[in-house]
């Protein structure tokens, strides 16, 4: 489904040498893999997702999604293959535009946009039906601008929009981190449910180690631009957070303290 081969990405720093944000990252995902990604601040997690999405190009390496080599495609030409949700709820929606207009734009992900009506009656029924599954009452507020929604509502909408056109890949970058615990849990449950519908590979970045082990099918840990740990079920389902930290220690010969990885349990 997703093949990353020897991806490298270096950022220029003011001190001259530059910093390897991605160092030879190789990863292979099956169509229904739900991978949680953990790692300390600056480990390269966001950079990995950005390179996959094409926000900036990798320095070297290859990215193949669903059999298609997208390494040199600009971001907007990869859009049909993947949906994304970010940490900031503002980032995934257009605040000045209405709920239905946002949905309509997501519905047309990666398609040609012509001069036909942006939101047709037929779409409206479909959007209403989809919004109703969130259970937030948004289906009755189709024409309201998104900026009037709460952060949690906005993030739920962003998640719905990311998967509306049924892409094969979903990239989540700490998408519950800016929400209060209850809302975060609701968005996480929604995420699990969407992933559970199948035919979707998920990459989810989180700082919550317990969550990383409890959801999904596979967990990878990044450190200084490298993947230092990669465990899948069933082995993973037996693991505890302290096992995880110990495995990191064994792999790197370094102690990884809880605070370095910003443990949120």
């Amino acid at each position: 489904m997703l093949e990353l081969r020897s991806l490298c990405k270096k950022f220029q720093t003011s001190t001259g040498n530059g910093r390897m944000a991605l160092n030879n990252v190789t990863l292979s995902l099956q169509p229904n893999d739900f991978v949680t990604i953990i790692g300390s601040n600056g480990a390269g997690k966001s950079t990995l997702l950005n390179v996959i999405a094409g926000v900036f190009p990798a320095d070297s390496g290859q990215i193949v999604i669903d059999g298609e080599d997208v390494t040199s495609l600009p971001e907007h030409r990869r859009a049909s293959l993947m949906g994304r949700v970010f940490q900031d709820p503002m980032q995934g929606t257009a605040g000045s535009m209405s709920i239905e207009e946002n949905m309509a734009m997501a519905y047309k992900r990666g398609m040609r946009r012509g001069l036909s009506k942006g939101v047709s009656v037929k779409h409206r029924d479909f959007f209403r039906e989809k919004l109703a599954t969130l259970g937030l009452g948004l289906e009755d507020r189709l024409q309201e601008p998104v900026k009037l929604l709460s952060g949690g509502q906005r993030q739920a909408l962003a998640l719905l929009m990311a998967t509306l056109s049924r892409p094969k890949l979903l990239l989540l970058d700490e998408h519950t981190a800016a929400l209060d615990p209850r809302t975060a849990q609701e968005i996480q449950e929604l995420t699990n449910e969407i992933a559970g519908r199948g035919n979707l590979a998920v990459l989810m970045v989180t700082h919550n180690l317990r969550l990383a082990l409890s959801v999904g099918t596979r967990t990878i840990m990044m450190h200084e631009g490298e993947i230092v740990l990669d465990v899948s079920d069933p082995e993973r389902s037996e693991m505890t957070v302290s096992d995880l930290l110990k495995r990191f220690h064994d792999a790197r010969g370094e102690q990884l303290s809880d605070d370095r990885i910003l443990l949120e349990v």
């Binding site: 999405a53 926000v55 600009p74 971001e75 907007h76 030409r77 859009a79 049909s80 994304r84 503002m90 980032q91 995934g92 929606t93 257009a94 605040g95 000045s96 535009m97 207009e101 309509a104 734009m105 997501a106 047309k108 992900r109 990666g110 398609m111 946009r113 012509g114 001069l115 036909s116 009506k117 942006g118 939101v119 601008p145 800016a178």
Partner: protein
């Protein structure tokens, strides 16, 4: 009485003919969030092209309808400088505007082209039996209505949604597969098509095209948009364009009053600039007051602002 009524109609005519330009400025500044200074060059370009075409005998309506095409390319040039060559939006507009000054002189052949003896869209209407007193008012009403209708509909198409999202949240709409560079080029092009059309109509209305007639167009357009927003909160696309139109009319009334109060016509640019500064600063001052009130409220309750 009838004299005052006549004056009101004249001001309304001006408000309407410049409203086409204001809708263009609304498109770039509000919908695309792109401060576009091309306008000061594309407005006289519209006038120059119309003057040239009309003096060589092109039918006034055909000539006038060709103008927006040229305006589109002027705006698209700015869009390309910004997106392809990564020149900042302000500088890109200034560059195009400066280049257009020479282009406009080339088109006109001299600094001022009178249109009093050539046919214009207005004389065409008058020859059809429409009284001279109402022909301009009638024509400009129709033009503004058509422009508003078309732009409103356009901004609700699939393409229009993507254009608006480019101004609202560029990263998001790009992640949905839209080439935001093309959107900006098309959007700034469209805005300047309207601006040039307005310039062509103004030239025919006032009876001449002049190389200097573009100075201050952006600021007048922004003034109209800002006045419009103050009166009609732009809750929807239709309210936004309506605001620009109403704002343009009010702005022309303000100019009319300023002249009546004894300001020289040459002082008007200063008056307009002060007006725009006042409107903009009132917004930021209001924000500052809101913020300090919020901070005070938080302090009073004794809680921190939660993340």
């Amino acid at each position: 009485m009838s004299l005052a009524f006549g004056a009101v109609i004249r001001v309304l005519e001006q408000g309407l003919v410049y409203a086409v330009m204001a809708v263009g400025v609304y498109l770039s500044s509000r919908v695309l969030d792109f401060p576009d200074l091309t306008v000061d060059g594309s407005f006289p370009m519209g006038a120059a092209i119309a003057a040239r075409l009309l003096t060589v005998g092109v039918h006034p309506f055909a000539g006038t309808l060709l103008v927006p095409v040229a305006g589109f390319f002027a705006g698209a040039a700015t869009g390309m400088l910004n997106t392809k060559l990564r020149i900042s939006n302000l500088l890109a507009g200034i560059l195009t505007m400066t280049a257009l000054y020479s282009v406009n002189l080339r088109i006109m052949g001299r600094a001022n082209v009178p249109l009093l003896r050539t046919g214009t869209v207005l004389t065409v209407l008058q020859n059809k039996g429409i009284p001279p007193g109402v022909s301009a008012f009638l024509l400009f009403c129709i033009v503004v209505a058509v422009v508003k209708l078309v732009i409103d509909l356009f901004l609700r198409t699939e393409f229009g949604l993507a254009l608006r999202a480019t101004g609202d949240n560029e990263a998001m709409i790009r992640s949905l597969g839209v080439n935001t560079d093309s959107m900006k080029i098309m959007g700034i092009g469209l805005a300047n098509a309207l601006v040039a059309l307005s310039g062509a109509l103004v030239a025919q209305y006032q009876g001449f095209a002049d190389i200097g007639m573009g100075i201050g167009t952006v600021v007048a357009g922004l003034a109209s948009v800002i006045i419009g927003e103050a009166i009609i909160p732009p809750r929807s696309v239709g309210m936004g364009t309506l605001g620009a139109i109403i704002g343009s009319i009010i702005y022309r009334f303000a100019v009319f009053l300023a002249l009546r109060l004894g300001f020289a016509p040459t002082d008007l640019k200063l008056v307009t600039a002060v007006l725009v500064i006042a409107a903009l600063s009132s917004k930021s001052i209001k924000q500052r007051i809101d913020n300090s009130e919020r901070r005070k409220a938080v302090r009073d309750v004794g809680t921190e602002v939660s993340l």
